[in-house]
Amino acid sequence: MLGSKEEQPIATVPLVSTAGARGARDTVLRITRYASIRLLTLLLTVVVGVYLTILIANMGGYVDEIRRAMIREGVGIALGADEDFVLLPEAERRRIYDEMMAVEEVRLGLDQPFPVRSFIYLRNALTLDFGMSDQLLSDSMSRVVRLIILERLPPTLLLFATAQLILFFGSVFTALYLSQRYGSLLDRAMVALAPTSAAPGWFYGIFLIVIFAAILRILPFGGMVAVPPPADRWAYALSVLRHLILPVTAIVSSAIFQAIYYWRTFFLIHAREDYVEMARAKGLPSAVIERRYILRPTLPAIVTSFALTLIALWMGAIVLETVFLWPGLGRLIFQAIGMFDTPVLVGAVVIYAYLLAVTVFVLDLVYALLDPRVLVEGRKAA
């Protein structure tokens, strides 16, 4: 969420390709070698990151104490309800109690010391085997963390894919349009609006809820679908669409002006390049200039930024989804934290780490394909 404002426009790409002279086989080999090294480094990074997360989420082992106390309570209640047990002599009761505790601890793997277990957790987490949740249940009453996460993933994807696509294409094309009409009233208005992006999406969400849900009462307060859900498939889709309007608007309005400003400035700088002036002098239509002379050389930077915003907005989702009661991954994380449900928490963070690593990896490859210089200079541009 803080990262998106820090990147600088990447320097212009001259059209001269130094890699052109080499053979195609050489290039493929180069890319493969480069890709595998990248993949290895990223994997290692993910492993360390996930392990750190496991340590933090378990409070360095302290969560186990909480779990043990819960087991003790559960065993105590179960035995206390047993009438025969109450009549047994003290020593016998003690023995049965300890025995049941031990069985429970073995069942949950608590008999091993935490450092050992932390590596078992790590192995399980990396193989996406997140085990059972402590408290949270999926809609079908399952405790399998993978099922819970899989259930929450589609709503998040729906919400953020919609918002991201609108945001990205909206801002890039508006910016392209503005860069051709530099200094016009619309251009200046957009620049003036850019500082409004200082506030995160959930913040705009509050205002949108107040206006459209509380005062005007034309859109729902939150949730993903009406209660009870409509049986008809079209009615269902329509209901989801209605619920989608406010959160998507919140995300888009929180980021669009900053994005437009960023891209406008970016295109402005590139629109002053000699080769663009040259194309203009040749009398090419402005659509061709935009597409071939401005967009193409700046594509690597645009793709990078697209991927980075994807990642950044995934994080903002926690609060946004909580505000809009959207049943997605972000809200799941929030609920899991409130319930000390470490398996779910670790599962969600691992998914995030993988998502990030995959994004970075794909980005590196796309970079290599889009920008010939990257092939030559290794991973400097990444």
Binding site: L2, G3, K5, T45, G183, T196, A199, F203, F221, Y261
Partner: protein, 447 residues
């Protein structure tokens, strides 16, 4: 550094920078006066709201200036205290040590709406036998209601609003309405005029005495209204200002400076140090900041300062680290650095006196633009219920409002005031940051 000053001079040419600076200046003024007017301990005490702190303010009352926009005037809170005004008391002593204490609390009520609550706080002094008191409510049209008589312990609260017996006397109307309504009006209309509450007390010991404080709770309160715990939201709005500014400023300066210094060291010394920094950065970029902050807030500590430290720590090895490193790698090759080494400058001297000062101008706009992000981060954490439990902040007010259904019940003022302040702060810094960006990055300047 004179170049820096010259560039700052240039700020005057940008209206957005001036507006931004005025906004920031106002905030600093509010922050300083808040800290002076309400010391830290006092703010914590007020927000904690121990028994008695907020007993005389209404629950969920909108700000008093709402009256300006309404034809019908909502009442403010009236407090009548016999201890503060000796004229309200009459004492007739008898020979056997008994005494009649008559307290008459009179007030004019000229509002168009009913009060929100009605309560009498009674205090008594005695050795063994509690004084006894009867209460009479006199209305402007001469009607009288006898409220249930009672014997008085040292402190007691008689909430007239909750007394079902009075309600029954009034034919089912809630007391705060029935005791102020015109006779027979339906729907009830406010009867304007002079009201009186008479406390007819009887004490049984020579030194025994009693006092009464009538609170007619209003429907509006102060500049910012009150929340569900009767707390004046103004306290949190005022104190939220220094907290937000300090959090934003310290986080932005701390993370930028630390990040830059580490990047400079890595770029200058290279080899193992550089590799280590690069790897740590990559791991830290994989770690999702907000979930980790939430985890730490839930599991370890909610202290604002601990969270602040963690935010800095997590941002130091963020994406910016890579950008700085690239900058330093470039500057490292510059001729003036070579010259410095040629005359024998030590490594630390080169890093701290030649490398870092070179990039500071580039960082000024960036770090100003970062402040709002951190201000909102604090609000985000507070909103998630992970705010500092002691210090009142804007985010905590929004959280309280949300948790208590302010949006569903129509208490918009509760959400709006802190939100407007947040956006005001964000805009102020962002506007200044954008202007600075244009001044310090010539490539962005309009050609």
């Amino acid at each position: 550094m004179s170049g820096l000053r010259a560039r700052l001079q240039e700020l005057r040419r940008y209206p957005s920078a001036i507006i931004g600076m005025v906004m920031i200046g106002l905030l600093i003024l509010v922050a300083v006066s808040a800290v002076i007017a309400i010391p830290y301990q006092e703010a914590v005490r007020l927000w904690k709201g121990d028994e008695g702190v907020w007993e005389a303010s209404p629950r969920l009352a909108p700000p008093a200036w709402f009256n300006w926009f309404s034809r019908e005037q909502s009442p403010r809170t009236l407090v009548l205290d016999s201890a503060a005004d000796p004229d309200t008391r009459q004492r007739v002593e008898y020979e056997d040590g008994e005494a009649d204490v008559t307290i008459t609390l009179a007030f004019d009520f000229h509002y168009d709406r009913f009060p929100s609550e009605l309560a009498v706080f009674l205090t008594a002094e005695y050795q063994e036998t509690q004084p006894f008191a009867g209460l009479i409510w006199r209305m402007p049209d001469g009607r009288e209601f006898h409220l249930p008589a009672r014997s008085l312990p040292e402190r007691s609260v008689y909430s007239i609003s909750k007394d079902d017996e009075v309600r029954w006397q009034l034919g089912g109307l809630t007391p705060e309405v029935g005791l102020f309504a015109e006779e027979g009006s339906d729907p009830p209309r406010v009867l304007k005029g002079r009201y009186e509450l008479v406390v007819e007390g009887l004490t049984f010991e020579a030194a025994s005495d009693l006092d009464a404080r009538l609170v007619v709770y209003g429907q509006v309160h102060g500049l910012a209204g009150t929340d569900h715990l009767r707390r004046d939201i103004m306290v949190a709005l005022l104190w939220g200002t220094p907290v937000a500014l300090i959090f934003g400023l310290v986080a932005a300066v701390g993370s930028t400076m630390a990040s830059m210094t580490i990047a400079a060291l890595g770029a200058w010394y290279g080899r193992a140090l550089d590799t280590a920094i690069q790897r740590i950065t990559e791991v830290s970029m994989i770690l999702p900041m907000l979930p980790i902050l939430i985890m730490v807030g839930t599991l370890y500590t909610r202290s604002l300062w601990a969270i602040l430290g963690l935010v800095i720590l997590l941002s130091v090895f963020g994406a910016a680290q890579k950008v700085y490193r690239a900058m330093f790698l470039q500057i490292k090759e510059a001729p003036y650095i070579e010259a410095a080494r040629a005359y024998g400058a030590s490594n630390p001297r080169v890093v701290f006196l030649y490398l870092i000062p070179r990039v500071i101008p580039v960082l000024v706009p960036q770090f100003v633009s970062l402040i709002p992000a951190y201000v909102f981060l604090e609000a985000t954490l507070s909103f998630l219920g992970l705010g500092d439990p002691l210090i009142p902040t804007w985010g905590k007010v929004i959280e309280d409002a949300f948790r208590n259904g302010a949006l569903y019940m129509g208490h918009y003022y509760w959400v709006m005031a802190p939100s407007v302040l947040l956006i005001f702060t964000g805009l102020g810094f962002a506007m200044l940051g954008f202007a600075l960006d244009r001044i310090f990055n010539p490539r962005l300047r309009e050609q």
